[in-house]
C-alpha cells in the first residue's frame, strides 16, 4: 500500500489527507444509510402520520431530486474548474454540512406534510451538491493504487458502526446522535475549509496540488474514459442494476418483521455484532479483489454473490411454505450474513470505481452520474416498483423471487457479454491478414 510508503517517508500531509477522506466519506455514508434511509421513514409514518406508501413516494422524490441536483452540480464543478480547486470543494462541503446540520436538528420537530415536503426538497439540494463534491476529493487525497483499500475501510467502518452501535431506528434517536457527531465535525471542517490556523493553511497548500499526481484514475491512464463511451456507460448500467436489485429486495425485507427483527434489528447484540463483523470482512475482501481483478471480474463477483444470496432467501421461504412447521422458528442468520457480505462488496466497488473512471477534469460529472444513477436513481426506481408490487399484493416469496431472477439475469448477461466481446476480439484478430511464409529458396 502507498499509505505505508507515505508514513515511512514522513509525508504527513498526504497521510492526513487519507484520514480526512475516510472520516468525511464514512460520516457521509453513515448519515445516508441511517438518518436518510431509515430515519425519514419513521418521521413520515409516526410523527407526520402519513401512510407507508406516501412516505415511500416522498423518498422516491428525494432520490430523483438528489440525482438531478447532483448532475447539475457535478457538471458545473468540471466546467468551472472547481473539481481541481480543493479550497472551493472544501467550502462547498462546509456549506452542505451546515444545511444538513440544521435539517438534522429540525427533523424531529416536523409534524405536517408540507413541512415534510420542504424538508425533502432542501435535503435533496444539500445531498445533491454534497456527494459529487465529496467523491471528487478522492483525486486530492487518495493515490490511485490505494483507492480499493481506502474504499474498503470506509465501507467497513460505516457498516460496522451502523450495525454494532445500538441506535433505535427512530428519527429522534438518529437526530440526537447525528447532531452530536456533526457539531465537532462542522468546527473541524470549518477550520480546514477557511484555513483559520496557519498550520492548516500549509496543509491545504500541500493537499491542493496532489490532484496532479492522483487525478488520473486507474482506468483512465491509457485513454481517459469519456462520459459518452461504453467504458463509462456500461459500469453505470451495471451499478444501477446492483443498487436496484439491492434496494428492491431490502425494501421488502425491512417490511417483514420476521426477517428484520432477527437480523438487523435483533435485540441480541451478538447477532448485530456478527452482521457488523461480516460487513467488515466483506469490505476488506472486496478491497483485496479490487486491486487484483479487472472491472469485469469485480462485477461478476458482485452479481454472483447477489444471485446466490437471493437463492438462499427464496429457498428458505420455499422450504418454509412447503413445511410450515419449519417456518415457525426464527429465520436463520446465514442469509443476512451473506446479504451483508454482498452489500459490502458492491459498496466498496462503488466508492472506488467512479474516481477510477475519471480524470481531474471529469471527476465531478462522472461521480455525479455514476453515484446518482446507481445510488439515487436506482433507489427511486426500485421504490416505485416496490410500491407497485405492494399495491398488486405480491407475496414475499414472489417479490424476492423477482429480485433473485433479476440478479441471476444480470449475472448471466454479464457472463455472456464478456464472452461475446472476447469472441468478437478473437474474430477480429483472425480477420487480420497474416503474412505468407517466406519461400525457402534453394
Amino acid at each position: 500500500m502507498r499509505f505505508v510508503d507515505h508514513v515511512r517517508a514522513g509525508e504527513w500531509h498526504t497521510v492526513l489527507g487519507y484520514l480526512l477522506f475516510v472520516v468525511l466519506m464514512t460520516a457521509g455514508y453513515y448519515y445516508n444509510v441511517t438518518f436518510v434511509q431509515l430515519g425519514l421513514i419513521d418521521l413520515g409514518t409516526r410523527l407526520v402520520g402519513m401512510d407507508h406508501t406516501a412516505v415511500s413516494t416522498w423518498m422516491a422524490a428525494l432520490a430523483l431530486l438528489t440525482f438531478l441536483v447532483a448532475v447539475v452540480a457535478g457538471v458545473t464543478m468540471d466546467r468551472r474548474g472547481w473539481s481541481t480547486d480543493l479550497r472551493t470543494k472544501l467550502r462547498l462541503l462546509f456549506g452542505v454540512l451546515v444545511v444538513q446540520f440544521v435539517l438534522t436538528a429540525a427533523a424531529p420537530h416536523i409534524r405536517t406534510v408540507p413541512a415534510f415536503g420542504a424538508w425533502i426538497v432542501t435535503a435533496s439540494a444539500a445531498l445533491g451538491v454534497g456527494f459529487p463534491v465529496s467523491f471528487s476529493l478522492a483525486i486530492d487525497f487518495v493515490p490511485v493504487p490505494d483507492r480499493g483499500p481506502v474504499a474498503a475501510v470506509i465501507t467497513a467502518a460505516t457498516y460496522f458502526l451502523a450495525n454494532a452501535v445500538p441506535v433505535e431506528w427512530s428519527i429522534g434517536a438518529f437526530s440526537q446522535l447525528m447532531v452530536a457527531a456533526m457539531a465537532p465535525g462542522l468546527v473541524v471542517l470549518g477550520i480546514v475549509a477557511f484555513e483559520l490556523l496557519s498550520p492548516v493553511e500549509d496543509l491545504v497548500d500541500d493537499l491542493a496540488t496532489q490532484y496532479e499526481a492522483f487525478g488520473t484514475g486507474r482506468f483512465c491512464h491509457d485513454v481517459p474514459v469519456k462520459t459518452r463511451s461504453l467504458g463509462f456507460v456500461a459500469p453505470v448500467v451495471l451499478m444501477f442494476g446492483v443498487f436496484f436489485i439491492d434496494s428492491l429486495g431490502f425494501l421488502r425485507i425491512i417490511e417483514t418483521p420476521a426477517l428484520i427483527l432477527t437480523s438487523w434489528q435483533s435485540p441480541e447484540f451478538s447477532t448485530r455484532l456478527a452482521i457488523a463483523a461480516v460487513h467488515v470482512v466483506g469490505a476488506l475482501m472486496a478491497g483485496v479483489l479490487y486491486v487484483n481483478f479487472d472491472r469485469n471480474g469485480l462485477f461478476l463477483w458482485v452479481f454472483a454473490l447477489f444471485g446466490f444470496t437471493y437463492v438462499l432467501y427464496t429457498s428458505d421461504l420455499r422450504v418454509a411454505s412447503v413445511f410450515p412447521a419449519l417456518g415457525r422458528d426464527a429465520p436463520s442468520i446465514v442469509n443476512p450474513l451473506f446479504y451483508s457480505l454482498t452489500v459490502s462488496f458492491y459498496t466498496t466497488l462503488n466508492f472506488a470505481l467512479w474516481p477510477d473512471l475519471s480524470t481531474a477534469e471529469t471527476i465531478g460529472t462522472h461521480s455525479a452520474i455514476g453515484v446518482g444513477m446507481a445510488g439515487w436513481l436506482a433507489t427511486f426506481s426500485s421504490t416505485a416498483v416496490a410500491l407497485y408490487l405492494d399495491h398488486a399484493e405480491v407475496g414475499l416469496l414472489t417479490h424476492l423471487n423477482l429480485v433473485n431472477a433479476l440478479a441471476l439475469l444480470l449475472f448471466l448477461g454479464l457472463v455472456v457479454g464478456i464472452y461475446v466481446r472476447r469472441m468478437a476480439a478473437a474474430a477480429r484478430r483472425n480477420e487480420q491478414p497474416t503474412e505468407p511464409p517466406e519461400e525457402v529458396s534453394g
Binding site: F308, S315, P324, D329
Partner: protein
C-alpha cells in the same frame, strides 16, 4: 430448527439413502406433530402391526405411507409402538423418535432417540450426533458411535490410518510433480506471492460452492451433480495440499522434485494435524491454509497459468 440448519442434515440423509441404493424421492419427512407408526393393519414406512395403533399428527405430517423408502424425523415426535415392526431405515435429524417395537437401521444425526425396554434394533444403530437414551432391556444388533470413533481416530490412537493418509498424499504429490511440476509451481506462486487474493477467493468460492451443492442436492434431479461437485471440491483441497507439499519440498535438501514433493506433502499433513492441536488458533490456521490453497488453485486454473493481478498505474 430453521430450514438453513436442517437442510445440511437432510442432505446427509439424502446422500446416505442414495449411497444405499434407495429412492430418495419416496422418502418422507416429519416436521411437526405426534405420530405413531403403523395402524389398523396398514403398512407405514415398512411397518407391520399386530394390533391397533393411532396417529394424532396434524395436517401435512403423514408419518409414512406405502412405498416409502425411509422416514426422516426432522421435528415433532414419532413413536414405533411395541407391536410394530418397521423395516425401512429411520433417520433422526431433529425432534424425538421413541422406539418401543422392532426396527431395522436407525441413524441419529441430531434430535433425540429413546429406546424402551421392549425396543429391538434388528439392523444397525449409528449415532452421529444428538441424544440417545437406551433402556437396559433394549436390544441392538449392531451399534456404532461414529462421533466417538472419529474422536478416537486421532493419529496417536490410529497411526496406521494416518500413515495411510500421509502416504496417499505423498504418492499423489510425487506423481504430479514428476509429470508436470509447472502446474504445482504456478499454484505455489499464488500461494506465496498472492496469498491475500487466494485466501479471499478460496474462502468465498469454497463456501458458496459448498452451499450451492447442498441446495442442488435438494432438487433431487441434481443430486448426482451435487455429489460430483462436492467430490471436486474435495479434490481441489487435496490438490492444494499437494501444492503446499511441493512448496515445502523445495526447501528440503532433495534434488529430485518428485521425491521432494512427496516428502513435503507428507510433512504438510503432519504439520496441519499438529496445527489443529493448538487451541482456538489452530483450527483458524487450518481453515486459512485450506482457503489460501483452494483459492490459489482456482485463480491459476489448476496451475495451467500463473496468476497475474490487475495492473494499477500510478
Amino acid at each position: 430448527m430453521t430450514p438453513t440448519e436442517i437442510i445440511p442434515l437432510l442432505l446427509v440423509v439424502l446422500l446416505l439413502l442414495a449411497g444405499s441404493g434407495a429412492e430418495p424421492e419416496t422418502m418422507e419427512v416429519v416436521f411437526e406433530g405426534d405420530h405413531t407408526l403403523g395402524g389398523n393393519g396398514s403398512v407405514d414406512v415398512g411397518a407391520t402391526t399386530r394390533g391397533a395403533s393411532s396417529g394424532s399428527g396434524s395436517a401435512g405430517a403423514r408419518a409414512g405411507s406405502a412405498g416409502t423408502s425411509a422416514l426422516v424425523v426432522g421435528g415433532g415426535s414419532v413413536t414405533v409402538p411395541a407391536d410394530t415392526n418397521v423395516t425401512a431405515p429411520l433417520f433422526v435429524v431433529g425432534g424425538d423418535l421413541r422406539i418401543e417395537g422392532q426396527v431395522g437401521d436407525v441413524r441419529v444425526l441430531a434430535g433425540n432417540l429413546t429406546l424402551t425396554d421392549s425396543a429391538i434394533v434388528a439392523g444397525q444403530l449409528d449415532v452421529l450426533g444428538g441424544q440417545v437414551s437406551m433402556a437396559d432391556g433394549a436390544l441392538v444388533a449392531r451399534q456404532s458411535d461414529v462421533v466417538g470413533e472419529l474422536q478416537d481416530q486421532t493419529p496417536t490412537r490410529s497411526p496406521a490410518g494416518f500413515l495411510l493418509q500421509v502416504g496417499a498424499l505423498a504418492l499423489v504429490g510425487g506423481l504430479i510433480a514428476r509429470r508436470n511440476p509447472a502446474l504445482l509451481a504456478n499454484v505455489g506462486d499464488s500461494v506465496t506471492n498472492h496469498a491475500a487474493v487466494s485466501g479471499v477467493v478460496g474462502s468465498i468460492a469454497g463456501l458458496a460452492l459448498l452451499v450451492l451443492f447442498v441446495y442442488m442436492a435438494f432438487t433431487l434431479v441434481l443430486l448426482p451433480l451435487s455429489v460430483v461437485g462436492l467430490a471436486v471440491e474435495f479434490g481441489i483441497v487435496v490438490y492444494s495440499y499437494v501444492v503446499f507439499g511441493y512448496l515445502i519440498g523445495r526447501q528440503l535438501p532433495v534434488e529430485r522434485v518428485d521425491l521432494a514433493s512427496a516428502a513435503g506433502a507428507g510433512l504438510f499433513v503432519v504439520g496441519l494435524e499438529l496445527l489443529g492441536r493448538v487451541p482456538l488458533l489452530g483450527t483458524f490456521g487450518q481453515a486459512l491454509l485450506v482457503a489460501i490453497g483452494f483459492g490459489a488453485v482456482l485463480i491459476t486454473y489448476f496451475g495451467l497459468t500463473e496468476f497475474e493481478p490487475a495492473e494499477i498505474p500510478g
